[in-house]
């Protein structure tokens, strides 16, 4: 049986992905940081199995349940924060030297903030965590077709939000 990964290994490999996944739920960096910290504290208290085939998906499933618990506890506060988040979302992407890429990243952050939570989180998992629809369905506990359709709707909305800029940057 392979050795279980250590917490520093998990943090280095998956910390950022988990943080961004939490941000798609909370809309606030501070809350996402708290959730990430709580998740690592939870991991420290339990035995991490060494035979997990897809550690990223396993951690994201834990993160998903943790985020859902958080949402249940903070429903009222979340609505207010979501509105504020849509106005001024936390920066999600790294700084880019290329001004076109930087502009696209900025617009994309804003477009993502306008998506419903369900679509935003699926888009994150698919586009930047590289999960398949099967894995997304398992992480979020939803049917495969639901995961696929949420992604399709999210992508269509992003496409229509970013079309003017995208057409300008990438004339076909």
């Amino acid at each position: 049986m392979p050795a279980a990964p250590t917490l520093p290994d998990l943090y280095d490999a998956h910390g950022a992905g988990l943080f961004h996944y939490f941000t798609s739920f909370t809309g606030s960096e501070a809350d996402a940081k708290d959730l990430l910290q709580e998740l690592f504290m939870k991991l420290a208290r339990q035995q991490i199995p060494g035979d997990i085939l897809n550690m990223r998906a396993w951690l994201l499933r834990m993160a998903h349940h943790h985020a859902i618990d958080w949402l249940r506890r903070h429903t009222v506060r979340r609505r207010a924060e979501e509105e504020a988040h849509a106005q001024a979302p936390a920066e999600m992407f790294a700084a880019h030297d290329d001004p076109d890429q930087a502009e696209l990243a900025q617009r994309l952050t804003r477009a993502l903030a306008l998506l419903p939570l369900e679509q935003r989180s699926v888009a994150q998992l698919k586009l930047w965590d590289g999960l398949t629809f099967e894995e997304i369905a398992e992480v979020q506990g939803i049917p495969l077709n639901t995961a696929a359709s949420r992604y399709r709707y999210a992508l269509e909305k992003l496409r229509s939000e970013l079309r003017p800029l995208y057409d300008e940057l990438k004339p076909s």
Binding site: L7, P8, Y11, D12, G15, A16, G17, F19, H20, K33, L36, Q37, F40, M41, K42, L43, A44, R45, E91, M92, F93, A94, H96, Q101, L104, A105, L108, L127, W128, T132, F133, N145, A148, L155, L158, R159, Y166, K170
Partner: protein, 115 residues
């Protein structure tokens, strides 16, 4: 279900997500280590207090016992005499069975006659 990404998806994918601040790493791992460590117990410590019953349970038991005691002291040792109307309608239960039977037969005959 088409899973082949188009150019737009590939361009979105190419954007790198922000890395976490360096100072978070030690902060989070220290907090996790502290959470995972077994609790430090002093060498001499008092035995843990027995778990207390919840307040609602204590209050419920108290009320039930209070009601039992009140009923015990307020209930007379002999049952009260039956109401006059009740006793007039009901045959005397201490009468001999044959008399009791006649009384009941008369009551039924009167009831049938009245209808």
């Amino acid at each position: 279900m088409n899973t082949n990404p188009d150019a737009f998806e590939n361009d979105l994918r190419a954007l790198r997500r922000r890395a976490l601040p360096d100072e978070w790493r030690s902060e989070m791992l220290q907090a996790a280590a502290a959470a995972g460590a077994p609790p430090v117990m002093p060498k001499t410590h008092a035995a843990p207090a027995a778990a207390r019953a919840p307040r609602w349970l204590v209050a419920g038991w108290s009320l039930a016992w209070a009601a039992t005691v009140v009923m015990y002291f307020t209930t007379p040792p002999e049952p009260a005499a039956p109401l006059p109307s009740y006793s007039a309608e009901m045959p005397d239960s201490t009468a001999p069975p044959a008399l009791l039977w006649d009384q009941r037969a008369a009551a039924i005959a009167a009831l049938v006659a009245s209808n």
